[in-house]
């Protein structure tokens, strides 16, 4: 009797396990189908008013999903006011965009580039027109929606969920630095190792704002991770304070002390994401290091004034001395954060129209 009960329980357990793993596999497949739909949408110019601008135009794989321009352009060819942020390892962020702690959900955030009118970005149509427009795309969406949702209905919630799912697949953890940490001591040059030591040093203090695995977390004095941290790094301080074209976090929070605060982005793939800063005001890493070494910028972009004196400037940006050799070492280390496999991974590239045609 006891043996029977035991084997019965075992059977039941196995059954539960197989149902669980089947479910897991099933939901894994659904997630994959959702991301695959999202990849097509991400590369589809038909999401924009003039059918000329896809997410992928301002977030290009070759630049770690930033776009190499100082400012990005909208569907009408007009420049915006901010530098495109790179997209990878997005789970490590508490909020998205340069300075908006309200944007805690990737799916919701997608509504901003799609529909914003200040500034105008993609200027997408209301969903009925948009859905109609997608039927004229080079991609065949019916099987993609079907695979992800079980039917072919195109809704805004589905579009943004798919875009979010695709962006969450953008994982980049295969830089020489990662290989070095994993035990391959050949992965970093001596120069890069010297740069790493400088980067980690108290003297430079880079880690205060670029902490954690993704170099985007602020650590407090006890080394604890602080959530949603934004910093004024002393880029500007004119008679007007910060240039009014972009006041960063202050625009969302209406707290005077947030004037000129922006997020600390990840430093992974940083050699690919030039130009730098929220307004793309710095073309080279050497200029960025110079800025932090001085503890603020003087007359940046022709804006008269010394950002070092900005009263909102973070106390963590206090400046440090650095020799030319050390600067090169630091740059060598930052270059070793580049994941060249990531920018070549075909899973993240523009979907092949022909491969898609075969699906039909």
């Amino acid at each position: 009797m006891r043996r029977f009960a035991l084997s019965f329980a075992l059977c039941l357990g196995l059954l539960a396990l197989s149902v669980w793993s089947w479910n897991k596999q099933q939901s894994g497949q659904e997630q994959q189908a959702l991301a695959e739909l999202g990849r097509h949408l991400f590369y589809d110019k038909r999401l924009s008013a003039n059918n000329n601008l896809a997410c992928s135009d301002c977030h290009q794989q070759a630049y770690a999903f930033a776009d190499s321009r100082r400012l990005s352009f909208n569907t009408h060819g007009k420049a915006g006011r901010r530098n495109s942020l790179a997209l990878f390892n997005l789970a490590s962020y508490d909020s998205f965009t340069w300075a908006n702690p309200l944007q805690t959900e990737l799916a919701f955030q997608a509504l901003i580039p799609l529909f914003s009118d200040d500034p105008v970005e993609m200027a997408a149509s209301e969903i009925d027109v948009l859905a109609q427009n997608l039927t004229l795309s080079q991609y065949d969406y019916a099987p993609l929606f079907n695979a992800a949702f079980g039917d072919t209905e195109i809704s805004l919630t589905r579009i943004t969920a798919a875009l979010a799912a695709f962006q969450m697949t953008l994982q980049s953890y295969n830089s020489p630095y990662d290989q070095y940490l994993a035990g391959n001591k050949q992965a970093l040059s001596d120069e890069a190792i010297a740069g790493m030591v400088l980067f980690e040093s108290e003297r430079l203090g880079c880690r205060r704002c670029h902490g954690g695995m993704n170099f985007n977390q602020t650590l407090d004095a006890q080394g604890r991770v602080q959530l949603n941290e934004f910093h004024n790094t002393g880029l500007y301080y004119s008679d007007m304070g910060y240039p009014e074209s972009d006041l960063g976090l202050y625009e969302v929070s209406f707290e005077q002390s947030d004037n000129g605060k922006f997020r600390a982005p990840s430093l992974r793939n940083v050699t690919l994401t030039a130009p730098y800063m929220h307004d793309g005001s710095m073309a080279h890493l050497a200029q960025v290091i110079g800025h932090y070494s001085r503890g603020g910028s003087l007359n940046l972009k022709g804006v008269q004034g010394d950002g070092r004196l900005n009263p909102n400037k973070s106390e963590l940006v206090s400046g440090f001395g650095l020799t030319e050799q050390e600067k090169n070492q630091l740059i060598a280390f930052l270059a070793a954060l580049t994941d060249s496999k990531f920018i070549q991974n075909p899973r993240f590239s523009a979907p092949n129209e022909q491969a898609n045609a075969k699906l039909r």
Binding site: Q103, T104, L111, S116, L156, Y250
Partner: protein
């Protein structure tokens, strides 16, 4: 089997219900635009590219001074309103109307001496997931995604060489989507118009939006130069509002 008694009960219920219904009458509250006292039309010197308002919390004041909450009638099943909130689109001669030019109020018969309403989307609905919102809150153009709210009022006007572009909504907000979001500035002006009589229209006088600023803008950012005028005109600062008045 349905007995006679049950039948009687049903009939009585219907009769009572019908009677309760007939206790209110429907009264139209029309809105329109004025410029320097003249009705704005397609050929006016003032060009209205867009002008939309969300309104809610409509109430009428009885002669006793008591305010009576008024429900909106939606017998026509308009996509621009529900029982509690309506979207007005007051731009003349449009091809794509995005709202109503009047609302239908369910009014208890009687005499009234005032009308009031609030511009904006009620707090309870303002931070919902707009992708799940029902009409009239399901319009992307009026969702203010970067603040996780709505554009309560939307003005896009041009006159001579001057332009006026305003988005009014709650600002200075903190919190998480789907959770609790709190805003420092609610920006839901209450418009109170005394000596209202049933049937009277409401006029918006727009001339005052044009000040010395050639391009007045208030897009909800602290540095926007046009906000002071907008807030002042709508009565969000110390003085009462100066835009809405009763017509003949």
């Amino acid at each position: 089997m349905v007995t006679m008694k049950q039948m009687m009960l049903v009939i009585a219920c219907l009769w009572l219900f019908g009677c309760a219904e007939s206790k209110t009458e429907t009264v139209i509250l029309p809105f329109s635009l004025n410029f320097e006292g003249q009705e704005v039309t397609c050929s006016s010197a003032l060009q209205v590219n867009a002008l939309t308002l969300y309104i809610h919390d409509l109430a009428l004041q009885e002669l006793s001074g008591q305010w009576q909450k008024v429900e909106l009638d939606n017998a026509l099943n308009s996509p621009w309103q529900n029982e509690s909130i309506a979207l007005l689109d007051l731009a003349p001669c449009q091809t794509n109307q995005m709202g109503l030019t009047s609302v239908v109020m369910k009014v208890k018969p009687g005499q009234y001496r005032g009308v009031r309403f609030r511009i904006g989307v009620p707090e309870a609905l303002n931070h919902q997931d707009p992708q799940l919102a029902r009409a009239p809150l399901d319009i992307n153009q009026l969702q203010w995604h970067w603040t996780v709210g709505y554009k309560f009022a939307y003005f896009d006007l041009a006159w001579r060489e001057q332009t006026v572009k305003h988005h009014l909504g709650s600002s200075g907000c903190v919190g998480n989507i789907g959770d609790d979001i709190q805003c420092k500035y609610q920006n839901r002006p209450e418009i109170v118009l005394p000596s209202y009589q049933l049937g009277q229209p409401i006029k918006l006088e727009l001339r005052q939006f044009f000040t010395e600023l050639p391009h007045a803008r208030c897009f909800g950012k602290p540095q926007d130069k046009g906000c002071d005028t907008l807030f002042n005109l709508l009565g969000l600062q110390d003085a009462p509002q100066r835009i809405f008045r009763l017509g003949a």
